[in-house]
Symmetry: C2
Subunit: 356 residues, 2 copies
């Protein structure tokens, strides 16, 4: 069966989404005089051959391979890539293709946007998280000084090509990680998507093409309306305010958890806050907790960790004038942002997650 | 006499220019909840006291002091500033004031634009080069891998405050360096300005307020029309294609010359190219060479350095598809860009500079 992906030409970014996107995208690369591909060692092994096979006429001038893993999303690897680009005498007309998961598109987008004050880049996400989230929306950057994405810029890729073909290369943990973001779209703005998912373990999902297309479009709609996160885009932060503290905590201990594990936990805490500090019904909270518990083990935390977690939250990029606002749920499928929450309630929400 | 500076509210940047600009600017800073000031050690000593005196009601939360000098415009100092901002728990509402010359505004603009994906910044240039050039136009960045401004972004400050009051703190060499850019505006687009300057050594200039206001407005006009340097802004590169190679060469040897010394030499070479490869009259070339020789000693170069200089030019950010285009003069007061020049002529132009 010949597949036909969706082509969305939303200025300044074009999207190609769904089965067949990879092959379809070849013609879109025609106009770039020189193409460099950024990968990590896993992607180089498992995905780059697929890319070459599906886009046989693309002439790759250089392949730059970095080390995989969130703990490698740092300035040292940026320096390595800037050096490689310099050595290869890459000029401003060149294109950087970020072929990989969120780490590759985050770091690659940052490096491209800052090399010679900006060369163009294109994202080919290979992980579920990349396809539904990281590759879309122009947030680029690296971790710095123990804080996630502390150094980076908002910068749009020219094109994002989302082809589920790469999902087969994913380890289970990465697959699970992206699934947390898919569930988030259901919770904050797409009740129908939530219904498709509800009650299922991610391994039971059959039509990933449909799920990914839906989730990616949910994200595209939001970032088109609010690229710089002044308003509605903040809804995407549901689960991330507390979730980022969890993620940073485990990253710093050397026992990194996936982004999905961290924000799944964050969404339980912030779900509880949505009930206690806002209007989410207790019954819907139960539904949310239930769904996350089907898909994720609880993180190994105890009440004793809470002070350190609160400390980490003070460095969140979302802090303004020293205060931290939350994106909470009004009900499943509807979120609201800029809700200030008393820090005692935040502590209680973590206790709820840890002890219930 | 009470001075009244010019206030230009050109979105997205506001400019305050001329005697009295510093005091005038105080009210513009009212809306920023937290202010951090970036300086180098010289500026901290000579200019920060003037700033505090003229803006007594501005509450400076942190002063970050970096090391001065073009050879310190690097990633290490950026890391130092990112660390200081992190330690001070600076959030996205904060403002970074870049008080200093081109190094401070280049590095400060880059660091601000990339910290937490961008905090706002304001430039208070203290050098002549900063006032008429570096602080205007949104080019930020650091040198990397022996190449000037290899890593950086286009990012506009909210406000640029240009007050000649700081000129008194300048060393002669810095003063001279900025004067090369002032002369350049005369050559590429402002024959009247050239006439004001012609025949004078920079120490003979009396009305700096008038000269700086004129030169700054010349630059503002260009960058407003072509922020990302797709067209007319390229005219500003007159003297810089060859000049940057000179600057990089001396920087790498450890005997750095000023930016002005390098581009003054570059403007003689590219003036010669304007005559040989384009339509500049020989008589006007003589006038140009004469004026630069009044103000600058020739750089200590010999024909033997030419191959290395050509090699450096291949890494210029202006290289596109492997080729380097020049901005040349049609006549004094009128430039043209995107002129391709045979590399033999470039070699000849350097020989002209070295031997005549």
């Amino acid at each position: 069966m010949k597949s036909s992906p969706i082509f969305l030409d939303t200025k300044p970014v074009a999207y190609v989404i769904g089965d067949g996107a990879l092959a379809y995208s070849e013609k879109l690369l025609d106009s770039y005089p020189r193409i460099i591909v950024l990968v990590d060692e896993n992607v180089e092994k498992h995905c780059l051959p697929v890319f070459r096979e599906q886009l046989p006429n693309v002439n790759i001038s250089e392949v730059i391979s970095i080390r995989s893993g969130e703990e490698k999303k740092n300035l040292d690897q940026s320096v390595y890539i800037w050096n490689r680009l310099t050595q290869a005498k890459v000029d401003r007309d060149a294109l950087l293709i970020n072929l990989g998961g969120g780490v590759v598109s985050d770091i690659g987008g940052f490096v491209a946007s800052t090399f010679k004050r900006g060369i163009r880049f294109v994202n080919y996400p290979t992980s579920l998280l990349g396809m539904v989230d990281a590759a879309i929306g122009g947030k680029t950057g690296v971790d710095f000084g123990n804080f996630k994405n502390q150094v980076g810029v908002f910068a749009d890729p020219d094109i994002v090509v989302i082809d589920p073909i790469f999902l087969d290369t994913l380890e289970e943990k990465q697959w699970q990680s992206g699934f947390a973001e898919v569930m988030k779209y259901g919770l904050i703005l797409d009740r129908e998507l939530w219904r498709w998912l509800y009650g299922k373990h991610f391994k039971e999902i059959e039509d990933w093409n449909k799920i990914i297309t839906r989730a990616a479009r949910d994200k595209i709609d939001i970032v088109r309306h609010d690229f710089r996160e002044k308003g509605i885009r903040k809804n995407l932060n549901y689960g991330h305010t507390i979730g980022h503290a969890f993620e940073t905590y485990f990253l710093n201990t050397g026992n990194a958890v996936t982004h999905g594990q961290a924000i799944a936990a964050g969404m339980i805490c912030e779900g509880w806050l949505s009930t206690e500090a806002y209007e989410l019904e207790w019954k819907q909270l139960q539904e949310i907790v239930n769904m996350f518990d089907i898909n994720f083990d609880r993180l190994p935390l105890s009440d004793a960790h809470i002070p350190e977690l609160l400390q980490l939250m003070k460095q969140d990029k979302k802090v303004r004038g020293g205060r931290l606002n939350y994106s909470l749920l009004r009900k499943i499928g509807k979120a609201i942002h800029n809700i200030e929450v008393d820090s005692n309630l935040v502590i209680e929400s973590m206790k709820f997650y840890i002890n219930n």
